[in-house]
Amino acid sequence: MTTVLVVDDSLTDRKLAGGLLTRHAGWDVQYATDGRDALDQIELHVPDLVVTDLNMPELDGLELVRIIRETHPLVPVILMTNQGSEQIAVRALQTGASSYVPKNRLAVDLEDTVQQVLGIARADRAHVRLLRRLKNQQVQFEIENDQDLIATFVRYLQDALRGMGLCDDTERVRIGVALQEALINACFHGNLEVSSSLREVDHRAYYNLARERSQQLPYRDRRIFIFADLSPEEMTIVIRDEGPGFDRSLLPDPTDPANLEKPCGRGLLLMQTFMNEVRYNAVGNEVTMIKRRCESASKVQDQEDAA
C-alpha cells in the first residue's frame, strides 16, 4: 500500500486533498495538521509521498521540505499553493520539492501529479538501489582550464558518491570543497602558473593575469587530467596538471598566526582536513587524494533502505 501524508492546518483543505486521494485504490492517506506534526508522523512511519500546504503556523511548508530533503531524501514532496504564495513556492522547489498544485486546481490536477511524482520516485529508488550494488567505478577526464567544466565535474563526482553510499551529505560537501580546491590549484597555480603571492599584493592583477594566460600559449593548451576510482569503501582521486609543479615545503603555513591574513595555502589546508590522505608526486603537479567510507554513511544507507 502506498502511503501519502497530507499536511495542512486548514481542516477543510486537508479533507479536500485527502478525499481526492482516497478515491485512488491502493493509496492510504494519512493527515498532519502542520509541519511539526508531519515530522512526528514521519518519525513513526515514513510515507511514500508528502503533499503539503506552504503557510502553516507551527512549521511551514518550506522548512518541512528542507528537513525532509535532509532526513529522507527519497521521499518526494508536492506543494499545495495559494495565490500569493508563488515566491515561497519557488524557494521550496529550489529547496527540493518535487512539484506543486495550485489549491484551486486540486480536483483537476492533484491525483495525476501524485501519480506522476510517485512514478519518478520509484524509478529514483530503484536507481539508488542499483547504485548501492555497484562495486567499483573508474572514470577518467581530460579537461581544459574551464571553471564551468570543473564545477560540473565536482557535482558529477558528488552525485556518484551519493549513489554509492560512500559518505553522508555533510561529508559529501566536505569532499566537494576539497575537490574544488585541488582543481582550482591545478588550473590557476598549475596550468596557468599564477602565484598566490600576486593575489596577496593585488587580487585584480591575479585574475587579470589568469585571464590573459588562459588565451596564451603554452598555458592555453594545458589540460587537467583526472582519474577517479570509487568503491563503497574508498574513493581515490588523482588530479594532474601540465604546469611545472611546486615545492610544498615553500608554502607558508596558513595557520601560523603570522600568516593568518595572507592568501596562501588555505586550499591545501582544506584538502588535507577533509580527505583522509593527500599526497603529491615529486614534481608537485599531481595530487592523489583518498577518502575512506565514513561511519555515518552506513546509518544513512540504513535509513534509505528502510524508506
Partner: protein, 121 residues
C-alpha cells in the same frame, strides 16, 4: 538590501554594514566572486561605516575564494580601525572558518542579532 550579482547582498543596519552571502561560493567561480566582491568593497567604502557583519545564513559551504574575500573585506575595515563579525555559518562553514583559523581573527556568532549586539559594544 541591495543585491550585488548572485552571490552578495548588502545593507546598512544603523552604523553596521551587513554583507549577506546568498549562495554557495566555491573556489571555482573565483574570478566572478572576486569581481562581485569588488563591488561590495566599493559599497562598503562609500558607506563610510567601519563596522562589518558578514552573514552566512544562506550559504551551506564555501572554499578558499570566499576566505580570500573575507581577508579583503577585513583589510578595508582594518584600515578604518573598524570591527568585523561573522554570523550564521553552517556546520561545515564554521569548520572551514576554524580550519583557516579565522575564528582567531574575528568573532563568529550564531545569529545576526548576536552579531549586531557584539558590534554595538
Amino acid at each position: 538590501m541591495t543585491s550585488i550579482g548572485p552571490f552578495f547582498r548588502t545593507a546598512s543596519e544603523g552604523d553596521v554594514f551587513v554583507v549577506e552571502i546568498c549562495q554557495p561560493v566555491g573556489s571555482l567561480s573565483d574570478s566572478v566572486v572576486l569581481t562581485q566582491l569588488d563591488e561590495v568593497l566599493d559599497a562598503l567604502k562609500s558607506s563610510g561605516l567601519a563596522k562589518l557583519l558578514v552573514d552566512f545564513r544562506q550559504t551551506p559551504y564555501f572554499g578558499s575564494s570566499l576566505l580570500e574575500g573575507l581577508r579583503l573585506l577585513w583589510n578595508c575595515i582594518h584600515a578604518a580601525d573598524g570591527k568585523m563579525v561573522l554570523c550564521n555559518p553552517s556546520q561545515v562553514g564554521r569548520e572551514i572558518l576554524e580550519i583557516a583559523k579565522f575564528d582567531h581573527l574575528w568573532p563568529i556568532v550564531n545569529d545576526r542579532a548576536a552579531g549586531l549586539a557584539l558590534l554595538s559594544h
